[in-house]
Symmetry: C2
Subunit: 156 residues, 2 copies
DNA sequence: CCGTATCCTGATAGATACTG
DNA sequence: CAGTATCTATCAGGATACGG
């Protein structure tokens, strides 16, 4: 699929042992972590709502939320709505926000292959058009998986 | 983050119970499954290579490969190189191929947040330019996570 | 070369009950 | 409301040894 150009290490094995995909999966490993993040993108901020909407038990929600805060994808702060008492809220950090394309790509794939087209879609708020996850090169070309090659990065 | 427009069901709960993200995660649930798929994209086709390159034990490789074939992301066939004996090979199906944006998005995020920029990059084979995962609407606009709304799909 | 069979450990996760 | 404490079941995954 993806062409490999010069990315074998001296022993002839792959660069896989320092792979960013594996490192990402070390941070977001479990189904419940993905579902918590999904809810965060949908605007959920409170403990009980995470557990209910992601349909996971409270102990699991507590464990995942703690780990996601530790890894810096969520941060926990206090929030007081006017005239209400203070509540705690989990908010996405920049690091967490930037995981959104992963969720969007999973959603797109699930829509197509496991959910009969899906019932819901992402749209551009300004123009109302449906949104897709795409691979695009710096020259602006749209790509499929077989238009790619994997190469060592130039030293920055 | 993502604006919700009319996607609550009558009980006031979220559409999450029929969520395509959850359904996708039911198919590709584990770290080892993602790593097997990564290797498939990198061109690996044989059992022993999957186990070695993804750095997982043979029993785990066997289990994941079987599940991925059952779910239709890989298919198993026979392959004979000229003058060699027949070997078995696992190939990505269309369904498996289309999961590539998920892997690319994980790689991009891991590069940035967990791997010090990464050591390797995806490039467009034709023009050599680096490749990014992007959100794009049907009108051609490039989007960030906060430019989105989630809405019911029109009945097709 | 391509797996399977066993055995074992730790992580994931639900249910339930309880506390600040 | 926001969790924690237990307890239990199931799953992910490694190590080792073995069979087609």
């Amino acid at each position: 699929m993806v062409e490999m150009t010069g990315v074998l290490n001296p022993r002839g094995t792959w660069v896989a042992d320092r792979c960013s995909i594996a490192k990402a999966l070390d941070v977001v490993r479990t189904r419940s972590a993905f579902l918590i993040l999904r809810e965060a993108f949908y605007g959920t901020t409170r403990f009980a709502d995470f557990a209910e909407r992601a349909d996971i038990s409270e102990p699991v929600a507590a464990a995942r939320l703690r780990e996601l805060v530790e890894h810096g994808l969520l941060e926990l702060g206090d929030y007081r709505a006017p005239g209400q008492r203070t509540r705690r809220e989990y908010r996405l950090t920049r690091k967490g926000e930037e995981l959104f394309p992963v969720l969007a790509a999973l959603m797109q794939w699930g829509d197509r292959w496991e959910n009969d087209g899906g019932r819901v879609e992402l749209r551009h708020r300004d123009c109302g058009e449906p949104v897709e996850v795409a691979l695009r090169c710096a020259a602006g070309h749209e790509l499929g998986p077989s238009d790619l090659e994997l190469a060592r990065k130039p030293k920055a």
